[in-house]
């Protein structure tokens, strides 16, 4: 990741196809497998791009997704079929991240994006009108404002829909024809846009939000659901946190052994509260209502490094983690507060060695200002 960042343009967050342009190019060069029509890479190379690794001619690909390769294979295979891909999972399990990279690798473009919200109208999924043109010239092709979905169909590219389940059900259903018949009728012009090969949809949906606007059966049947899990082991999660935290030059700090140990403790706390059981599997732990995703662990870490850089010696100490950690765990003071205290007193208190510092710091923090 660090290598690619050297030529980073002055944009806060460039698109993956910009950051990893070289990797994509190199993969395309050694790609000898059959590419589906409209794809920039063959399915196998897309999986390689996501999973990373060492390849012929000394090519190193940074891993984008850290986890089960088989899941990515299912996701990529889905996009070659008739069905669209629905990435589901609890918040912070890299759904958007994966969808961006899939689009970048398959179509070379991750910007055909519809952000799903409760206020989304059908126009955003189909097409709108340039009203000045519409009034002056009447309905015509030039007055038509295509949505990203329409554009993707015309170009044969992957279109992303974020937070599909937040879109009102009636609006969601306008996707049915698009997905089953691969066409978008424009009755005003007595015409239609027929998708060219390479077009497909990747939607993400938050499992916790399922109840908001449940997918209709008709639409669900046109998606293949891939559930992205929380990281399965401490080591895997540590890797994700370290690879994904955007600390720039400061990421070297994380190499120091004391920082590594503290991060490991931080992730342990996250995992134990999330899974409802201690890492050694010996003790049950009450779970707070907050999601405690890996993404949140990353933000706690970034916060701690920020504190350490600007107000300390640069290496995050226990005390630097506490303010944002507490905020991440406790969403609802009444319920989560009790859960958190019982975890600190019941589990952390008993731990030997450096854990002692965490316990002491946590109780002091709680006594001083944390509890108000």
């Amino acid at each position: 990741m660090a290598k690619a960042k050297a030529e980073k343009p002055h944009i806060l967050r460039p698109h993956p196809e910009q950051i990893y342009a070289k990797e994509l190019e190199a993969l395309a060069k050694l790609d000898k497998d059959k590419k589906p029509v409209g794809w920039q890479l063959s399915p196998k190379r897309v999986v390689d791009y996501l999973m990373g690794g060492e390849f012929e001619h000394g090519l190193t690909i940074t891993p984008k997704y850290i986890g089960d390769r088989r899941l990515m294979e299912v996701a990529v295979a889905t996009l070659t079929t008739n069905r669209a891909l629905l990435l589901a999972g609890v918040p912070g399990t890299a759904k958007t991240w994966v969808s961006e990279h899939l689009a970048a690798a398959i179509s070379g473009n991750s910007t055909l994006l519809v952000q799903g919200t409760a206020g989304l109208s059908e126009d955003a999924l189909r097409y709108g009108w340039n009203y000045a043109q519409l009034i002056s010239k009447g309905p015509s092709e030039s007055a038509l404002v295509p949505s990203p979905v329409m554009t993707g169909m015309q170009r044969g590219a992957i279109v992303r829909i974020e937070e599909l389940t937040r879109i009102p059900s009636e609006v969601q259903d306008s996707l049915i024809t698009v997905l089953s018949e691969k066409t978008l009728p424009v009755p005003e012009l007595s015409t239609e846009v027929q998708a060219v090969p390479g077009f497909n949809l990747i939607a993400t949906a938050n499992e916790r939000d399922r109840g908001v606007n449940e997918l209709s059966t008709a639409l669900r049947r046109r998606f293949n659901t891939v559930v992205l899990p929380s990281p399965s082991s401490l080591a895997e999660e540590l890797r994700i946190v370290r690879e994904r935290s955007s600390l720039g030059d400061r990421s070297k700090i994380l190499e120091t052994s004391s920082a590594v140990e503290e991060i490991e403790r931080l992730i342990t706390i996250f995992r134990e509260l999330r899974n409802g059981v201690t890492e050694d599997g010996s003790t049950k732990v009450q779970q707070p209502g907050s999601g405690l995703s890996t993404a949140e662990a990353i933000s706690v870490l970034e916060n701690a490094v920020s504190l350490a850089t600007h107000f300390g010696d640069g290496v995050p100490q226990v005390k630097d983690f506490l303010p944002s950690l507490r905020g991440a765990v406790i969403r609802d003071e009444e319920r989560d507060g009790a859960v958190w205290r019982s975890y600190v007193e019941g589990v952390l208190k008993e731990r030997p060695g450096k854990w002692r510092d965490w316990y002491v710091a946590l109780t002091e923090f709680g006594a001083k200002g944390g509890e108000k």
Binding site: P43, E73, R83, L86, A88, R221, V227
Partner: protein
């Protein structure tokens, strides 16, 4: 080329089975030789029987100790099954070539000791048992099943596969010479010897089906060398004489463990692969959709099509010719299961349990106990659920002779550890004693359990009784014996009662815990009382009460003294149960003993108040105390202040079961009433829970009368003026609240 063909297969491998079938069709051998113990030969003659439907297992067992047994399960996709059926249909002779089963058992007993000695032995054993797993590792697969499935099962490689695998195994055997241990060598000696013997008889065109590991050693040019030294090697080896039988097997057991050491991950999938590997993926997905619909969920054909397409794409992505079970499941997860792993698991489970039991023709059974069971089931008309292995519900009316016998037979099977039927106990309580509801479900595994029951006897009741006796040896305390009495009665094994009674008496004499006796008595006395059995048989039960009642009486007062509240409540429950039976005792001496014990409990200084209260009441009910005396003792036990709690418990004990004593004995009522009236509101409130517990269990009509009584303190009851007590308004309303 000689006429000897060695087909090294993977046991239960559908790809192997297809390849074997192709090879047999092509070569048309005169004789088929299989890797089965030579002494199982007779059972192989039965293989062609039409009613023998796989999965079945050929079982060799020691009739003296059934835990010693060898199983050879065969499914319809097992290469051995396919080959033997092929041979039977064409009247090609089948020969078993492996070491006789008795020697196998002797070897396995030896081997256990050897394994403990040699640290590497387990590894070599693993290599030999699972050579292909080793090859899979070499090929870079962590999972042998996956590798083998991909390499051989899905793609039908034709007959040429046998030469390839034999060559691979030959190299493997060379690299791991230790893996072919003494046991393996001895077995191969016997195999080679058998083949040579057949050739000597003039058979030329012989097909041999054996595990892939043995194939290199059985090639024509190796036979003589392999066979050498058999007599010397087997010297001193001696095992039990085994008997052979076919038993129905299930896919479930095939999955969990294989008699060949090679388990089958998904028998249904293997079956489909055997039928047609190309159609297997969509066939399996279709089965999943059918199951989903059976579960009441929507599953369209379009979904199956989508899932099949996805599975194909996945296979493509992974460089596979056809999707395997992994790809199918991954494809089904996102489509049919809508992303829910739990749902996928549920569907899979239902698909896998799909029609999975085998059948063995009736006349095959040589097991006396099984024959006995079948004839008994027939006589009580339960043969059909046993045959069909389906779940059925059955109502029994024990007043009918046949139904009684059926119920007893089912109970006897329960005693043998075979839960063919399970009785709905709720129905038992609701409908009294003569109606029972049973759920019957015969599981093929029960055949194995039944096999194990031969140690107990060859007839069901006799075996059940023996099992019961064995159980009594293990659990000989009084409480367990009491349960046994119930079982005996339900199973109709009345001959056993005498033995139990003797044991109970011994235990009763030895025990110091009178509560155990109190628990044991009710079922016994119920028997004596309600003529479940003939009086003649009950004689010894009377004798048993001769021991138990005095023992209970002599220990009662001590057991009721110096105990904590929990123990007292436990005792209270038992006494409430046993008293009605004791009250009906006919023996005067017993009654005298008992009531004098109750008196001691009632008046004892150290008796727990709850039990003392119960004792006092028992004496009242028995007509041994008049009103005056009762009131006296009651007043004595009702105090205030620190004794308040004790008083409340005394009242609870005294008023157990009914309020009649209050209704019919005004003096007693007044004492109690006065006591409650003296209480200050605060202590009274603390008493409320206990009082409520007491009053709320009275029958409604008694409560009504009590309520009326409380409303008219000066009315019909003609209370004496001097002791007339005003009940406070608050108290009356509080009491009426619970009444």
């Amino acid at each position: 080329m000689s006429g000897l063909r060695i087909y090294g297969i993977r046991h239960h491998g559908p790809g192997s089975a297809r390849a074997v079938l192709d090879a047999l069709e092509q070569e048309r051998p005169q004789a088929l030789v299989v890797e089965m113990p030579a002494d199982l030969q007779t059972a192989l003659y039965q293989i062609g029987a039409e009613d023998l439907q796989p999965p079945v297992a050929l079982t060799a067992y020691d009739p003296k100790s059934v835990s010693t047994a060898l199983y050879y399960p065969l499914a319809r996709f097992s290469p051995e099954w396919v080959a033997m059926r092929w041979a039977a249909d064409r009247e090609v002779t089948i020969h078993a070539m492996d070491l006789p089963s008795s020697l196998m058992i002797a070897l396995s007993q030896n081997e256990k000791q050897q394994l403990d000695l040699k640290p590497d032995a387990k590894k070599y054993r693993r290599v030999r048992r699972d050579p292909l797993g080793e090859l899979a590792k070499i090929a870079g697969y962590a999972d042998r099943e996956r590798w083998w499935e991909r390499t051989f099962e899905i793609q039908n490689p034709g007959a040429g596969i046998f030469e390839q695998t034999t060559e691979m195994i030959r190299l493997l055997r060379e690299s791991y010479p230790e893996a072919t241990d003494a046991e393996c060598k001895l077995r191969e000696m016997h195999m080679a010897k058998t083949i040579l013997g057949l050739q000597k008889q003039g058979l030329k065109n012989i097909a041999v089906i054996c595990g892939a590991w043995h194939a290199p050693a059985l090639q024509q040019n190796m036979l003589a060398q392999t066979a050498k030294g058999y007599a010397a090697a087997k010297r001193g080896l001696k095992g039990p004489k085994l008997e052979v039988t076919w038993i129905p097997w299930t896919y479930e057991r095939l999955r969990s463990e294989g008699g060949y050491g090679a388990g089958v991950q998904s028998p249904v999938w293997y079956g489909l692969l055997f039928d047609d590997p190309r159609l297997a993926p969509e066939h399996y997905l279709t089965l999943m959709a059918i199951e989903l619909r059976a579960m009441g969920q929507a599953a369209s054909t379009a979904q199956v099509v989508d899932a099949t397409e996805l599975a194909d794409q996945l296979a493509d992505l992974r460089d596979l010719v056809l999707p395997g079970l992994d790809e199918i499941q991954e494809a089904a997860l996102g489509t049919l299961a809508e992303g829910s792993k739990a749902r996928l698991e549920a569907i899979r489970k239902n698909v896998e349990s799909y029609r999975t039991t085998g059948r063995v023709p009736e006349n095959f059974s040589s097991l006396p106990l099984q024959r006995d069971l079948e004839s008994r089931l027939k006589s009580v008309r339960l043969l059909k659920p046993y045959r069909d292995m389906e779940r059925v519900e059955k109502n029994l009316d024990l007043r009918k002779e046949k139904h009684l016998q059926a119920s007893q037979l089912l109970c006897q099977l329960l005693l043998l550890g075979i839960p063919f039927g399970s009785r709905d106990d709720a129905s038992l309580n609701a409908k009294g004693t003569f109606k029972e509801t049973w759920t019957l479900h015969w599981h093929p595994d029960f055949a194995l359990s039944l096999l194990g029951c031969h140690v107990y006897g060859t007839q069901v009741p006799e075996a059940a009784a023996a099992a019961l006796r064995a159980r009594m040896e293990e659990e000989s305390d009084l409480a367990s014996l009491t349960k046994v009495v119930d079982l005996i009665i339900l199973a109709g094994l009345f001959d056993e009662l005498q033995d139990v009674a003797r044991r109970m008496r011994d235990q009763a004499i030895a025990t110091l815990d009178v509560w155990l006796i109190a628990r044991a008595l009710p079922p016994l006395l119920r028997l004596v009382r309600y003529d479940s059995i003939h009086t003649r048989e009950a004689d010894f039960l009377y004798e048993l009460t001769d021991t138990l009642v005095p023992k209970l009486a002599s220990g009662l007062a001590a057991a009721g003294s110096n105990v904590d509240d929990d123990a007292a409540y436990d005792g209270f429950r038992l006494l409430k149960l046993v008293q009605p039976y004791l009250a009906m005792l006919e023996e005067d001496s017993h009654l005298r003993l008992w009531y004098s014990a109750v008196e001691r409990l009632a008046y004892g200084n150290k008796s727990h108040p709850l039990l003392a209260g119960w004792a006092l009441r028992t004496l009242v009910d028995a007509g041994m105390l008049d009103q005056v005396e009762t009131s006296k003792y009651l007043r004595l036990n009702l105090g205030t202040g620190s004794a308040l709690n004790a008083s409340a418990m005394f009242v609870e004990g005294f008023l157990y079961s009914s309020a009649l004593v209050l209704l019919h004995q005004p003096m007693v009522f007044r004492v109690l009433d006065a006591w409650i009236d003296t209480l200050d509101p605060e202590p009274f409130r603390s008493l409320l829970p206990a009082l409520r517990r007491t009053f709320s269990q009275f029958p409604p009509n008694e409560r009504r009368k009590l309520s009326a009584l409380l409303q008219k303190p000066k009315g019909e009851e003609q209370l004496e003026a001097a002791s007339t007590l005003e009940l406070s308004e608050g108290l009356v309303s509080a009491l009426r609240g619970w009444l």
